[in-house]
Structures are given as structure tokens and as C-alpha cells.
């Protein structure tokens, strides 16, 4: 067995150091298999066996989802803040505009609508039925987005929920809660922060958080 010297970090804090290679696969699942994991495995194997999709299809989908992160969304929003023509195209037909401007392959991914927050109107997105989220842009949704609490409360007391995210909107700003109940996914363009005149795309992107593209927060102040 090869011994790797990793200096300052410890790999062996469990009880079978004798056979644990520093880079051995994590074997926690030998000890604990939650029912949901077994269900996932059984369902996946059945779907592959029945030819609904192949194991390769599944792996490609996982790779695709993991390649999409809020950093991509932030770059899109920064471009939309700077480029009026791109913003207009994005609002009119998001997948078309993104395919052209960001070289993204969005074929076979859900439909996408981009919503613009303004000084008059604030959008906040949820999925009360499950966890629909613009994964084709932002990747995996945060755990709270899938929680029963967020999903049930944001449609009945959005200002209270926003406030818990630290988002206090002016009383006169209208709120639109967008419940992604079906085939359309929604991405929010947050309001561009004051004091960012002359900023370039990369610098602006640094102000765009994941939560601001869901609408529970605003973009960061400069």
C-alpha cells in the first residue's frame, strides 16, 4: 500500500486505519444505507434495464448539471445589466439568447423565462409542488429552496420570508411570487445596485449571488 504524505491533514480518524488508503473511496455507505438511497438505486437500475434511458444518459445529465453553477448565472446577469440588446433578447427568448451569447447547449433542457426586477416590481421564484429550478443555468438548487417551509410560506407571506433572508423592500415595491408549477423555469435579473457605473462585466458579476437570481435577495451592494 502506498503511503501518501499529506502533511497537515488527517485522513484516518475512523476505526479501520489498517486498510484505509488515503484515496480509497469513502465507505460510509457500507455502514448506513438510508431507504431513499436504496430507492434511488432500485429505480435507476429499473429505468436503465427497461431502456427508458441508458446509464450513459444519466451520467451525461449529472455532468451537465454539475457543470452549471451560479457563476454562469452571474455572468449572464452582468451582461444583461451592461448590454441592453442582450437583455431585451434574454427577456424575449432566454434559451435562444443564451445559446447565441454564451455558447450554451440548452437543447433538451426545460424552457426558461427570465424575469427582470425593477424599482417597481420584485420577483421571487419558488416551486410549491417540488423543486423546479433553473438547473440548466444555476445547477443544483439550495436545500432551503426544496424545504417545505420555504415552499409553503413564500406564497402566503413573501415579505416575511424575504425579510428572513435580510431583504427589506420598499413598501411601494410590488411583489410577484412566481410558482414554477410546470414546464417553465424562471431566472431573475436582480436590480443593478447603485454606485456601479462604469463597472465591467466581471466586476459586476461579483455582486450577483445565487439567491439574488432566485429573488430572495438583492444583488450585493458595491
Amino acid at each position: 500500500m502506498t503511503v501518501h504524505d499529506h502533511g497537515d491533514h488527517v485522513h484516518h480518524d475512523h476505526d479501520h486505519d489498517g486498510d484505509a488508503h488515503p484515496h480509497a473511496p469513502v465507505d460510509d455507505l457500507d455502514h448506513y444505507q438510508p431507504e431513499s438511497l436504496l430507492m434511488e438505486q432500485a429505480l435507476r437500475e429499473l429505468l436503465v434495464e427497461k431502456g427508458v434511458f441508458t446509464a450513459g444518459d444519466l451520467q451525461r445529465q449529472i455532468d451537465l448539471t454539475e457543470s452549471r453553477t451560479p457563476a454562469l448565472g452571474a455572468a449572464i446577469i452582468a451582461r444583461a445589466w451592461l448590454d441592453d440588446a442582450f437583455r431585451a433578447a434574454l427577456l424575449a427568448d432566454a434559451k435562444l439568447a443564451l445559446g447565441r451569447a454564451f455558447d450554451l447547449d440548452l437543447a433538451n433542457t426545460p424552457e426558461l423565462t427570465v424575469l427582470e426586477n425593477t424599482a417597481q416590481l420584485h420577483h421571487v421564484v419558488c416551486c410549491t409542488l417540488c423543486s423546479c429550478y433553473p438547473r440548466n443555468i444555476l445547477g443544483i438548487p439550495p436545500a432551503w429552496y426544496k424545504s417545505r417551509e420555504y415552499r409553503s410560506r413564500v406564497v402566503i407571506e413573501p415579505r416575511a420570508v424575504l425579510s428572513e433572508f435580510g431583504t427589506e423592500l420598499p413598501a411601494q415595491r410590488e411583489i410577484r411570487v412566481v410558482d414554477s408549477t410546470a414546464d417553465m423555469r424562471y431566472l431573475v435579473i436582480p436590480l443593478r445596485p447603485e454606485g456601479t457605473d462604469g463597472w465591467d462585466e466581471q466586476r459586476l458579476a461579483g455582486l450577483v449571488t445565487r439567491d439574488s437570481m432566485i429573488g430572495v435577495s438583492q444583488a450585493l451592494a458595491p
Partner: protein, 104 residues
């Protein structure tokens, strides 16, 4: 409804009530509520069939529908007025225009 023109923007609609025993994409909190069509989003296979690995065809028109929170929650509304948007399939929507059947 599927053979007709899509409902136009601004058309008032009522979401049907009902408890299908199948999977469906119409949240309970909007059933029986009045809203207004924002726009048609296109045609998609019926999720109530897709959930059982059936084709769900013919595809149905999906509508973005806007609701006033006061209409949705009534006396339970705890906040200043706001709006809710949800995407609902045509077979869950009853147009509220008074036009007689077949005239659309």
C-alpha cells in the same frame, strides 16, 4: 379546448377544483381561484400522463396565470397585496368570458 385558439392575455379564468387520483401540476392552493391569463407558454405533453410513462399526447397549452394574493388567501392574507404567478394547463382552466360554448 385544445383545438381552439389559445386563450388571449388578460382573459379571466377560474382554476377548476377536483381531486384527481393521479399526479398533477395544479397546486391545491390555487384550485377554485380566479386569475388572469398572462400568456400562453406553448404546448406540452400532459404531466398527468407523463408521470405514468405515457406519451401525454395530444400536448396541452400551458398558461402563465396571475392571481391576486387577496383572491387566493381571502381572510388569511397577512401582508400587503401582492401577486402570484403559476403555470397551469388548459384543462384546469375555465374561461370566465360569457361567450357561449363553441363561439371561440
Amino acid at each position: 379546448m385544445s383545438a381552439r385558439q389559445p386563450l388571449p392575455a388578460g382573459m379571466p379564468v377560474t382554476v377548476l377544483t377536483g381531486e384527481p387520483s393521479t399526479h398533477c401540476r395544479t397546486p391545491h392552493y390555487l384550485r377554485g381561484k380566479r386569475g388572469v391569463v398572462v400568456r400562453a407558454l406553448g404546448r406540452y405533453p400532459n404531466p398527468e400522463a407523463l408521470a405514468y410513462h405515457k406519451p401525454g399526447l395530444p400536448a396541452l397549452t400551458l398558461y402563465q396565470v396571475e392571481f391576486d394574493a387577496a383572491e387566493v388567501w381571502g381572510d388569511r392574507l397577512r401582508e400587503a397585496p401582492y401577486r402570484i404567478i403559476a403555470d397551469l394547463f388548459e384543462h384546469w382552466l375555465q374561461p370566465l368570458d360569457a361567450a357561449p360554448e363553441g363561439s371561440r
